[in-house]
Symmetry: C2
Subunit: 702 residues, 2 copies
């Protein structure tokens, strides 16, 4: 790619970013938009905006940036939870990594690359291409490549040490979070599945007998899960009907609506409609009550078992309970709001099979998606376009058009295309038999990461047919060479991707374009929002793969094409400010995973480093510095050893809490006088929402 095309792309996106930011800093001050830009504040009652008009409301200001940066880590931890803190720390970590990388890359590697003459000799290019700044420009066999070699070693050491400290920090915060938090139902509860069927006993009795027998001193209560899928369908129908009814009823009072009704001369019918809906609702509610009473018998062999102490729950969760390892399976219960109810019916074997099926589906998807990606890439190729649509030739030959198309269009289409993937991954993960939303999200996040790396990185990097690509991975020995030949050539595409998808994506994120437009349309047409006012849930699952993928790009291109580094640094700084702001004002966590996302970040960073090392091995080979190539081989081995060490050192704390903490916290509770109140709440905390009496009927019936 020519430097001019790159600069065009950067220019367009910088402009868009600026525009979005300006719009945001004006729009957020309009009282009408408070539910768009500060739903969290509204819910917490912290929104302090007045409806009075003043000039300041129309001027863009940057005060929000300052406010977003104000809260300390401990404030974030106590107000937003550990997941939010981990999310913010990912940015801090990335900023640190790429600050160092940018300094080394721009001030040392870039000049070295630029001084090379490889490209001028071979291609005799009139204009400056981006390749002049990449390692490809360094002459073959040149001793300058040892500078790159040293840079790789030092960079790896810096990343690993930063990773170690971050791991230590988050690990300690996880413990601190437990110590500072109030008693939570999920800390005292264990989810038991695979309850064996004992003839003559109901499942509830079997569970009661088992835990009274084997956990006599700590057992508190249990709630057996019921099969409620049919009930849920009825409930959804009732809810819709209820909403319609409320609207019709309020319609007969609301001034605007009654005028419209009056205009159409339908005063009389209004009462009929209410009657009709009310009858329908009554019938539905009767059905529901009948179903509810029937369901009391329809038990599923799974139960939430609560204990008097956290340590008691941990004992039940960590030690195999029954003689048959497929029965009495225990795991730490998810938070009550985090429970994913549909999958409790599944047996051990069915869950296991559905896992295998999902794996196969995922791999198939991974392979099938190569086709559209290649087609999209073909579209971005100018000559290809000319062949397909000959009438465009004139247009495409205009310099500005071609610059825009090569610099901007491919990554835009590519990015739009990737938007379709997260819902599919979520769907796949939800079929795997997880019992909590957070597990589903985590699994979807991992799938997305694999998908992104495979289908964005490798498909982009490796040209040729899909079959050829698979072949490469069946011959591991050739991987370094193939990657080393292919990766540097794609640098410009990925720089442009960082700018388009990263910068513009982030600033459209801060603008919250979809809710804003939705709000605006509702306001314009005077239509009241159907949906209840809701604080959106933190979208960790969709965001983390994106953020980590940029990290992968930065690390792999660190020594290949340092030009990407300042752009990435910019991306992370931007993201840091913006996310601190969608976290403080907009989003609220529906449930807390306790920082369990962090180990994914760790593994992924290690993967990126090792990928960089493999490319380095291949590249030094291609560049005819074989000794540098051989001497790089210990580096991935050392990195993996470091990773295994870190996992042994820190990972146990992310799986469960240690006895020391649990017993200390239990002892603290013993002195607490509110515990009996908490226990009474705990007993009903895991009741299926479908089985509690329907709220609507009570509210609406006279």
């Amino acid at each position: 790619m020519l430097l001019s095309a790159l600069l065009t792309s950067v220019g367009i996106n910088l402009g868009l970013c600026f525009l979005f930011f300006t719009l945001y800093s004006i729009l957020r001050k309009q009282p009408a938009n408070v539910t768009v830009y500060g739903p969290r504040l509204v819910k917490d009652g912290k929104s302090q905006q007045s409806n009075d008009f003043n000039l300041e409301r129309l001027l863009p200001t940057a005060g929000w940036v300052k406010r977003a940066l104000e809260p300390t880590n401990d404030e974030i931890l106590s107000n937003l939870g550990l997941d939010a803190l981990v999310f913010v720390r990912v940015f801090v970590f990335s900023i640190r990594v790429f600050s160092f990388a940018s300094v080394v890359g721009v001030f040392i590697l870039l000049p070295v690359n630029y001084m090379g003459t490889e490209f001028e000799e071979f291609f005799d290019l009139p204009k400056k291409s981006m390749d002049n700044f990449s390692i490809s420009n360094v002459n073959d066999g040149s001793n300058k490549l040892w500078i790159h070699f040293c840079a790789i070693y030092i960079f790896t050491a810096v990343v690993c040490s930063l990773l170690y400290h971050e791991h230590q920090y988050i690990s300690s915060k996880r413990i601190a979070h437990l110590y500072s938090s109030k008693p939570q139902p999920h800390e005292f509860t264990v989810l038991v599945s695979g309850v064996p069927l004992v003839s003559g006993n109901s499942i509830s009795e079997t569970v009661e007998n088992f835990f009274r027998e084997y956990h006599s001193s700590t057992y508190l209560s249990h709630i057996v899960v019921h099969r409620t899928d049919k009930l849920k369908v009825l409930m959804n129908d009732a809810e819709k009907l209820y909403k319609k009814l409320t609207r019709v009823k309020s319609g007969s009072i609301s001034r605007q609506k009654s005028r419209r009704d009056g205009f159409l001369g339908m005063f009389g019918r209004n009462v009929d409609v209410v009657d009709h809906y009310q009858k329908k609702l009554d019938k539905l509610e009767d059905d529901m009550r009948l179903k509810q009473s029937l369901l009391a018998g329809e038990e599923v062999p799974a139960a939430f078992v609560s204990f008097r102490t956290r340590h008691g729950a941990a004992i039940a969760a960590n030690i195999q309970q029954g003689i048959d390892p497929t029965q009495w399976l225990t795991e730490t219960a998810p938070e009550p709001s985090d429970v994913h109810w549909p999958f409790f019916t599944a047996s051990f074997v069915r869950r296991w099979i559905s896992n295998v099926v999902v794996l196969v589906a995922f791999v198939t998807l991974l392979i099938l998606y190569i086709v559209p990606v290649v087609v999209v890439q073909g579209l971005a190729n100018l000559h290809q376009l000319e062949t397909w649509f000959p009438f465009l030739t004139g247009l495409l030959n205009m310099k500005i058009v071609s610059t825009v198309i090569t610099g901007y269009l491919p990554s835009l289409i590519f990015q739009l295309f990737l938007l379709t993937v997260p819902p599919i991954m979520l769907l796949l993960s939800s079929m795997q038999g997880f019992n909590s939303h957070s597990q589903i999200e985590k699994s979807a996040c991992i799938k997305l990461l694999i998908f992104t790396v495979w289908n964005s990185f490798f498909t982009n990097v490796l040209s040729g047919s899909a079959l050829y690509r698979v072949n490469v991975f069946l011959e591991p020995k050739t991987i370094p060479r193939v990657l080393a030949a292919a990766v540097p050539a794609q640098a410009s595409f990925f720089v442009s991707y960082v700018v388009t998808s990263g910068w513009t994506g982030l600033s459209s994120e801060v603008l919250r374009l979809v809710p804003l437009l939705w709000n605006l349309i509702n306001k314009l047409f005077g239509k009241e929002d159907d949906k209840e006012f809701e604080v959106p849930s933190t979208p960790f699952c969709q965001e983390i793969p994106k953020i980590l993928f940029f990290g992968l790009l930065g690390i792999t291109y660190f020594f290949l094409s340092p030009l990407i580094l300042p752009f990435l640094l910019g991306y992370y700084c931007l993201g840091y400010v913006i996310y601190r702001n969608q976290l403080l004002n907009v989003y609220a966590a529906k449930y807390e995973t306790g920082g369990k996302f962090w180990p994914i970040v760790h593994s992924y960073t290690i993967f990126s480093l090792v990928l960089m090392h493999i490319i380095a091995v291949g590249l030094f080979g291609l560049k005819e510095v074989p000794w540098a190539s051989y001497l790089t081989i210990p580096l991935p081995i050392l990195t993996v050893l470091f990773s295994i060490y870190c996992q042994r050192r820190f990972l146990p704390n992310f799986r469960s809490y240690p006895t020391e903490c649990l017993v200390n916290k239990d002892k603290e509770d013993e002195r607490d006088q509110n515990m009996s109140e908490f226990y009474s709440k705990l007993v009903v905390a895991y009741r299926d929402p479908a089985l509690s009496a329907s709220q609507n009927s009570r509210d609406i019936s006279p």
Copy 2:
């Protein structure tokens, strides 16, 4: 290999076996050999042989075979322990597998192979070669290969179902063993390492405080480990000296010795010598006492912590204790006699590093050992021998010599060479920081297995340079073809190996040649045995890799060269009788691992099956039946899935006992009146033998 050469080898070995068995059945009846053939019986006081001479003593009889087969599985379990049962079941499982395989192989596959004409067309051989019976003789593209295809599918299904049932059986026996056994110290004890140093407190105090605080209801007592390596050196010296002294003292009484002393005229000196040794021993004992008192302060940050209940110990062992996962590491304690004392000083990091170092050493060894193996194989090559030693040409051209050399020598040398490996593997494993002998043995067993497969199977199978061999594994796509081309060619070598190493090895095993000769020499020269009478420990670690390697050969050659199957079946039947007999009469288990060897057998069988599938994929490709090749690909995937399922289904029971068993057993103990006596034993069960007062001094001092 020619059929005649093979038959020669079988003949020689069958003769040897017969000779050994005849010798055994005569020698075992001689009263003088009772410590060789029945040390276990002697120890248990069950030996009922009289010294009276009768003719029956000199005639070979087969009654011992019947006696060896008499005990039921439950009797083996209660008398010899679970490990012995598992060991016996490995043979039962193998006999079942190879009975089925032999029937299919000999009656279906062998005739199909023999009817092929591939070899006759190509080589026009005058004599019948072994290759006529192998799959290589089936014509390329022949539809008969679909018979092999079906056989592979059916065989895999049979092996998997047998494996499943065996897993289930052993898993249930493991639980049954716990229920039927008396309270054992290791069930109540946890080994704690990485005790943090608290200033002002001794390690003993820190441990006491921690467990009193966090396991107040179940904690019983603890014993801190001390640094006793120097003391052990002193103890060894003292023991040697003590033995010398007893010999000298008894020498002045014993008739034979005093006669010899008299012959040399050294009556006078005898008293001096006793005095001299006694003084030396006194000095050593003073040193030891001093060291013992000094050592009371030299604590190692590790301790054996005992609990009042099994469940209490399981809780401490299964849940992370301290906040820092590298401190307060807990694991189930080994049996007191199983403790390996030297490694308690190692910290988390040091243990981790030593693991890495051992891994590197192991891989290096694996690669370096290729060289001698190739040289040995070269020696077995007739032409090679003629080139190296031209003067042997005449001798080598004699038919009988050449037959013996090609049929017998290679596998014999090969087998002798492999004898050097187990001690090296044990040494490596003992450096890994394990705290028990059984863990060391298990780890050495796994290393040996990997070593055997790599250096016996792959090095034998893949010709060419070592570098080429490594290359094959860097290009996984070519593996099936390379293996399919190379494996069938080695069939005759491995048949001969089964006969030489298997049959002859087993029958020399039953003869216990080395102890027998040792005994004989001692008897002849009237020398009394220096060593105390000891029941040898069960050599599971050395035997299991050998037995499993034969299984691998049988499974991989199942459809390639069914001629091997009856020989293998013979091996396993022989082994079954003989091992039931070295277990009942000779060996005694020093410690019980609770059947933890079984999962190794499972994984290894799965590995063998997958290897067979890979070879099948390659072979059907080479034989130009591409569809059979493609249709075999799902088989290894299904097999691995089956293995994962089995591991989830059964493996947890091999790691630790479930709550249900532990609590039931604890409740049983509560009703037991001997428990207070057991607790008092438990408190001192894990005292380091080096720190207890020296026994010798008391025995010998007047």
